[in-house]
Symmetry: C2
Subunit: 262 residues, 2 copies
Amino acid sequence: MILPQHINKITMVGAGNVAWHLAKGLSLKGYKIVQVWSRTIESASELAQRVNAEPAEDLDSLTPETDLFIISVSDSAITDVVSQFNHSGSLIVHTSGSVSMNELAGRSNSFGVFYPLQTFSKYIPVNLAEVPFCIEASGNKELGLIREVAQSLSSNVHEINSEDRLLLHLSAVFASNYSNFMYMLASDILDSRGLSFDLLKPLVAETAHKVITSAPSRVQTGPAKRGDLNTIDKHIKLLASMPEYAEIYRLLADKIRQRFHS
Amino acid sequence: MILPQHINKITMVGAGNVAWHLAKGLSLKGYKIVQVWSRTIESASELAQRVNAEPAEDLDSLTPETDLFIISVSDSAITDVVSQFNHSGSLIVHTSGSVSMNELAGRSNSFGVFYPLQTFSKYIPVNLAEVPFCIEASGNKELGLIREVAQSLSSNVHEINSEDRLLLHLSAVFASNYSNFMYMLASDILDSRGLSFDLLKPLVAETAHKVITSAPSRVQTGPAKRGDLNTIDKHIKLLASMPEYAEIYRLLADKIRQRFHS
């Protein structure tokens, strides 16, 4: 196989949250999205329509007339999808934070990773220009092509190997999935007495703003940080009817106290 | 005692994170900060100097020539401070989220609560205009005075009773202290392999932005939400040398899965 000089035509394999934002972003930057495949033809069609591409009914029907296949399915589906993949001469990347690049090794001689480190929800716009793209490739030529595509979307492109990328993905779970879960718990607690989550929005914004301009360990506040056992006790009593939440509260209060008071 | 028509002169009892921002904000709005007391004369002096007030060496030396005493010490110190307080004829408020208004009842006939629902760090500026102020008072006259002061600082003023305020404070621990702790864990994990927390900043910003414009349960993402046990397992293995973090990871992954998959 001869790799192209530049990437022009891109095929999206997957139409979930990440594929959705990438396809739209790449299309806006002038890339031709050739086809979109998804587990269901409905979701393939929905995304394909938005980026002037053809929906593909099954993996066999993907044309080799493309410069880059972006496999953007859930982590657990990557192995299954690539095992059905018949484009051994093409450049293939996946977009996962947690799957090693070498999962693609058997499928093609040209492969890599194109991982946007961001939380994506289909219908919520994201400014891709600020998203860190973590790239990795099987060779220099591939890396150059992948970097070019990433840099067309974002000024924040990093070459990161599979091991570091998994660590980054793990840290992202804490920083995003788990912090959002903390917001959910807060929202549930307020709901239990008819109070609005709106009351907490300035606090959520400020908490995030502080770690972005300072550092998380410098701006930790609260009863556990202060070692205020009396307040911690009141809070846990208040959670008597929500024992699952009390368990989380207690564990995190303990860990914060250990971190700041031992 | 006759309450004033309006509050003009204010005494700050405490000079910690909250007192610091309130004193500066009130001073900017034209209130005269008369005196600042703190557990140490150094911190009283530091804040007093910034708001053209007198530092007070001890609680006995606070002048009754003031319209409002704002007790802004740590929750666990409130009881101790008010027990030494000799201004039974004055309007007294505290700024705590978790202490009942009635803790002040024995000390004066005019009392209330002036709780700014925000995370404050001394040297990090906060836009008070957007901070929700939760107020409560022993009577209508007191409530009017406290509301006037709160409204001079913020357009986001709410009358909230002590019971709801404690619940709000509990929810704020999840939304702010615990989400910040998640950022800390992420930062520690990255540090362990020399990766920079800067990589996560767009993610932190977007996660907070999403819950502010949408709702936390609608925008939850990640392996636990997807029920992706394989990725969860990889992450936990990666935390083998940090068992405390693995414990937190595991509990939160379980709770998210229960929440979305049961």
